[in-house]
């Protein structure tokens, strides 16, 4: 799938993550900000990358502001942002969950 427009999902509240996904020419780039980046940075980026790949997104620019989100939250927010960015919110990607 292709990113058609920039989209945002999630919030900046505790235990959540705010994801902004926009179009890119090639590859996935993630700009992650998190208080626990030292310990969980790779894990968080891994979940985002895996979810993007599960959804068939090969190129995207991601800005992530993490406030201590669990993996399931990161995954849910990534799916929501991608569906908004690909204009496919009418067909929820249940199988990715």
């Amino acid at each position: 799938m292709e990113i058609k427009k920039t989209a945002i999902a999630g919030t900046l509240e505790s235990s959540d993550i705010q994801l902004t996904i926009s179009a890119a020419t090639n590859g996935i780039s993630i700009d992650l900000q998190s208080d626990v980046k030292k310990v969980f940075g790779d894990q968080i980026e891994g979940v985002i990358k895996q979810t993007l790949s599960d959804m068939g997104i090969a190129a995207a620019k991601v800005k992530a502001v993490d406030k201590g989100a669990l993996d399931c939250v990161i995954k849910a927010r990534t799916i929501a942002a991608v569906q908004r960015a690909t204009e496919t919110t009418e067909q929820p990607a249940w199988e990715v969950l």
Partner: protein, 317 residues
């Protein structure tokens, strides 16, 4: 952009307002939070995400904020990056694009790191032989010259018209590149007069922020070593701007002030060109204009005059 598009508030169980914030265009404004009876920062994070989600619904994803220095860290904590600060305040941005993306879209030579590179910022409303003279001087003394044209569309000549006339008027100068100044050079976004007491101080603050963004964010990425300015005998605002640039940019960036070009005894100004359009006396300023700008004005005189009649001011910048 003094007006506000939308204001949000958060109320607690006792119906007391505990946080508020507003948006104007893509700028967050008037954020205020009460931290009594709540975890430090929690209301702040809630109001900022609510404002960003509100802007996202309007397809606005690139967001700026001006704030006092002591709050800069709070905004950085929710993903904002500081562009510049002075003693009085800071400007930050966040979103799907940033100043690094802006600069990355500007064409560069392969060996630009070894070149002498200059920058000029102009509104060019419209492009005159005065602007042309300034660009020519810079083009003679440098390998490459960037002309940044002010992006905001609040002048008699539209942004596209201004940029096109600069492009056409410098086409023969092969080492000149004309680009948009984006939101980073002399833009509406960098005018945060609202939390400052006096106009003069506001101008000084705004121009200092503008100068520091140029010095720290733009110039190093393009290897710009010199900024060219036209001397400013008339406008108070531009006069202060020039003063501030001369104070802020050196020693890293040289500032060269070029005396305004004259035709006979008369100093060329775009203001006079606009006044001549309004008065339907183009012949009085013909000698101020390159053929490209003159032709454009002749072809679009009625349109320009009707913009003035509809209230477009012509005496500002």
């Amino acid at each position: 952009m003094a007006q506000i598009d939308h204001t949000l508030g958060i109320y607690n169980d006792q119906h007391q307002l505990v946080a508020t914030g507003s948006v104007a265009g893509n700028v967050l404004k008037y954020v205020g939070v009460c931290n009594k009876e709540s975890a430090q920062g929690s209301h702040f994070n809630t109001i900022i995400s609510a404002l960003m989600n509100l802007l996202a619904e309007r397809e606005i994803f690139h967001v700026f904020v001006f704030t006092k220095n002591k709050y800069s860290a709070s905004f950085q904590h929710v993903g904002f990056k500081e562009l510049a600060h002075t003693d009085l305040g800071a400007v930050l941005e966040t979103g799907d694009t940033d100043v690094a993306d802006y600069v990355a879209r500007i064409p560069q030579a392969v060996d630009q790191a070894q070149q002498r590179v200059a920058g000029i910022v102009m509104n060019a409303n419209p492009f005159t032989l005065g602007h042309r003279y300034l660009v020519e001087q810079a083009a003679k003394e440098n390998d490459r010259v960037y002309v940044f044209v002010v992006q905001d569309n609040v002048s008699l000549f539209t942004t596209d018209e201004r940029r096109q006339l600069v492009q056409q008027g410098t086409r023969d100068l092969s080492n000149v590149t004309v680009v948009s100044g984006g939101q980073y050079m002399v833009s509406y976004v960098t005018f945060p007069a609202y939390f400052l007491p006096t106009p003069n101080e506001a101008i000084r603050y705004q121009t200092t922020i503008d100068a520091r963004i140029f010095k720290n964010q733009i110039a190093p990425r393009l290897n710009i070593q010199t900024r060219y300015l036209g001397s400013e005998p008339f406008s108070r605002t531009t006069g202060i701007y020039n003063q501030v640039l001369r104070k802020e940019l050196p020693p890293e960036i040289m500032v060269k002030v070029i005396d305004r070009k004259r035709v006979g005894q008369q100093v060329i100004t775009a203001t006079q060109v606009r006044q001549a359009i309004a008065a339907d006396k183009l012949e009085t300023v013909q000698s101020f204009l390159p053929a490209t700008t003159l032709t454009f004005i002749q072809q679009h005189k009625r349109t320009l005059q009707s913009r003035i009649q509809e209230g477009m001011t012509i005496n500002g910048n």
